[in-house]
Assembly symmetry: C2
Homo-oligomer: 609 residues x 2
Amino acid sequence: MFQNFDDIADPSRGPLRVAKLREQLVHDGLDGYLIPRADEHQGEYVPPSAERLSWLTGFSGSAGAAVVLADAAALFVDGRYTVQARAQVDADTFEILQVPNAKLSAWLGDNLKAGDKLGYDPRLHTIAEIERLGEALAKQDTGLVASRGNLVDAIWQDRPAEPLGQIAPHELRFAGQSAANKIADLQAQLVEAGDDATVLTLTDSIAWTFNIRGSDVAHTPVPLAFAILHAQDRPEIFIDERKLGDNARGHLAAVATIRSPEELSDSLSRLGQAEARVRLDPNRTAQWFVEALEEAGALITRAPDPCLTPKARKNAVEISGARKAQLRDGIAVTRFLAWLDIAAPAGGVDEIVAAKKLEEFRSDTGELKEISFDTISGAGPNGAIVHYRVTRSTNRALAPGELYLVDSGGQYEDGTTDITRTIAIGEPSDEMRTRFTLVLKAHIAIATARFPQGTRGCDIDPLARHALWQAGLDFDHGTGHGVGSYLSVHEGPASISKRGAAEIEPGMILSNEPGYYKEGAYGIRIENLVLVGELEEVAGGERAMMSFETLTLAPIDRRLVVVSLLSDDELAWLNAYHALVAGEIGPHLQDDDRSWLKAAAKPLTRVAS
Amino acid sequence: MFQNFDDIADPSRGPLRVAKLREQLVHDGLDGYLIPRADEHQGEYVPPSAERLSWLTGFSGSAGAAVVLADAAALFVDGRYTVQARAQVDADTFEILQVPNAKLSAWLGDNLKAGDKLGYDPRLHTIAEIERLGEALAKQDTGLVASRGNLVDAIWQDRPAEPLGQIAPHELRFAGQSAANKIADLQAQLVEAGDDATVLTLTDSIAWTFNIRGSDVAHTPVPLAFAILHAQDRPEIFIDERKLGDNARGHLAAVATIRSPEELSDSLSRLGQAEARVRLDPNRTAQWFVEALEEAGALITRAPDPCLTPKARKNAVEISGARKAQLRDGIAVTRFLAWLDIAAPAGGVDEIVAAKKLEEFRSDTGELKEISFDTISGAGPNGAIVHYRVTRSTNRALAPGELYLVDSGGQYEDGTTDITRTIAIGEPSDEMRTRFTLVLKAHIAIATARFPQGTRGCDIDPLARHALWQAGLDFDHGTGHGVGSYLSVHEGPASISKRGAAEIEPGMILSNEPGYYKEGAYGIRIENLVLVGELEEVAGGERAMMSFETLTLAPIDRRLVVVSLLSDDELAWLNAYHALVAGEIGPHLQDDDRSWLKAAAKPLTRVAS
């Protein structure tokens, strides 16, 4: 099993740990301290040694930040995590606030006095974060102070060691482009911009560039490492030698100089001595790098990590791999759905049983390297917790008359998958069916959307919300995120969301996952991955448009669809999708499952009025 | 007549004037000069004395900028103006480029050498513009240099004098809130932000704050003036005394200190001597103010003009006025459309005749103070020029088989109107009808949209484009803009467009005007003004939503509608809108016109299939 169901939250620990941190604040002459959910690489998953926010507060979500002052403390989370945070965190110790309505800077303005000093660990915050916060605090005459070392580490007695996950080369038959070739392309970018070097700190950028995969953090096959990419010289990669077998060492040594993480400071100093122009991504690189480089004499230029766009635009080999991974994953998910349809009504299926069974079907493929993330297996009201993680204490039976939401994915060497299905257990209510159908309309609006060159993710997002807004409903998360190729299941730079400022480009793989959540009752989400196609002429039109091709293959629960709420085009899409699923998945199933799929994928028809 | 049809463009003058400007460049030791279409107030309309861009290049559009170097020159315009610019400007002298695809900074990078100095007039560029351009140029080691005086003025022999339009108080029965009251509200904003003062440079902000209206520029009833709003003291308004009759002087003197424009520098110096915190809007205030204030010792803070949001959110009196203005204007437009339907097929109607006739119907109301802008009266291919202005040389007959696009508006003391209708002259083609219907679907998508608090204009814009994108079509302008109350027909801060970052708020009046343009053939646009309603519960929903109420009242050409392309909801909207128009406008028409409207507003029905 890649997933465990341990209860990791324990609100009772918060008060004592916060009290210790406050002693440390006094010791360090600070009036407050920031505790982000981040490591030095700003990735989504962090190793246990970097789970400082969770250790201090109990909150185990993938995004958030706490601030502890002498006599106040707050935890800031987004709309996905408010319900979870309330369950995991001691509310007497931490005020729980939802961004973006609540703002850290505003809270600090209300709670800090002029002259106060707020400490932060410069390795855990991006350049842009510190800049924004510094400006906001300067207005109220409070200072932002980089701490030497991390104050949480100072009080965290049994902090786990840093991981030493083994690294493997990512083969060319999956990557589609050699590391040498990628490095040459990136160097050309640097030369064109007049930069001498850039520092890569995102682990998936490093994994992509060097065609390596690691196992330092859960679910995402990245190694914790840093790299310096020189416009003219060989790249340097900073990585613990113990993670490298002979195979990986040889692969890396062919294109880069391998150095230990301890040598990073010296290499940055050398860039400074050479008065190099060093490009840093202010939104993704830790503030510490600015300080180290500027102190050494380097000139900092600002631009996005050069890997972001080429990594996001999958090449032909990666696209072909994604199709294979989707077929394989779709077979596993379809088998699971068929099993669920018989097992759940018979009783005895709970969220953990279901999540285990789903992982089992994926393991059965013989190709599963990891799951993409902890399966969100939420029955009834647990389905309304957007990033729900089932534990033994929250585990709930799949009961008749309730909805079951399952969001999961697999890491395969040829591709990363991510799929959500919402299933009616027994007889759903009319409200459930109506709202499921509105979410389906939102999903289809994205699946069928055409859009011109230059369209950003934020220009697509409203198309999904339209049907929900008209009904007085909405959901508090983005409609979609980028997905890596045997890499991060949440990959930048593009997202289909209100903040999605990156342009959608051909070759990107994105999720399409609108939802609806009724707190305390049920959750609905329908998620497929889509591939962005090339600009193409539209019959009868004038401007070439891009569109999405749905990659994910598994039936959508027909029993939850109110056909009369669908337009003819929407109904046609659903039936065509089910025909595709039946045609692709069906031949790979055993008899019983194939019969089940045939029924589950049967065309829906309009009742003559 | 408020409109004239003179040919103001003359590409032949460009080369000579540019040659003179180049002599001036040498004289001033500069390598280039920027000529924006802007005055000191950054308003949409500028007085003839500030029409430097038009004088130099021939281009008469409302937005654009030229740059002249020793051996190259370029004119940058947006998608609305590319066709017009090509017709008005000498292409041998000026390279014509379309923003945002083409970028001024990129062009300068290609055409300037390291060490070159580019001059600009700091009174004509906003703080943000100069900052962005300065950063871009610094990268390539070229400098941006503020010129003393304007280089175009130095060579413009017969430059018109600055206008002296009379100023009138804007009565409380139209404004709904006294100037004293508005000033107190604005002062409270300054106090809350800790600012000592702000400089108002937008003429419509000044007109709104002090409840005055002027006549210095065409179509928009604003006075050219500046004001300093003090957090604690009386405001100062800087205005030429010759513009003030006794009535206006008394009205202003009751709430402000009246000073001459020459005294502005002294007042800014006083702010500096007092080391005041002065708030400037970087996107709307000229760079000159930063220099004047910082030199004097003031501390600049940055925040939007405090009038923007209260001005945009109309109060109950202004909303009631808008309804009256719309009814009055709708009667005039409907009479025009009825006249057009008989006169055009009979022959003899051309674009100028039509524009004159429309102004005549508006004048007949007895309440018309001005037209909101030069009527866009475009037949056939002229309709495809988005901001077309008819002149005697471009004038075209309204010919059978063509479309006629008319975009116009009236300035009434109780409200500003803006309406576009597209009319079939004779028999339209199937393509015209199909594309008109797609634009109508876009229009209805906005008219019927619901959306939650926090929705920005850019979140609404894609709803309009969706139907067009699906058909491989699009349009190169925003879907809507804010509209003032007897003020600017294009009013910030909100817009329904890709760049519309301001949130849509209750009380705002916006245009809803998607379009489609086939260059060289025809143009389609359907524009109504809409009022943003308060947040309201939606039956069966959970979240309160805002929605739009359509204010404009005039029929939409039914002959151009392909009913089979409309959904049931869309068809119902169109028929309900026509019923509203017939009910509101009909009783105010004479017999013939009423009969015409009855037919023009008749419900459309689906042909049974």
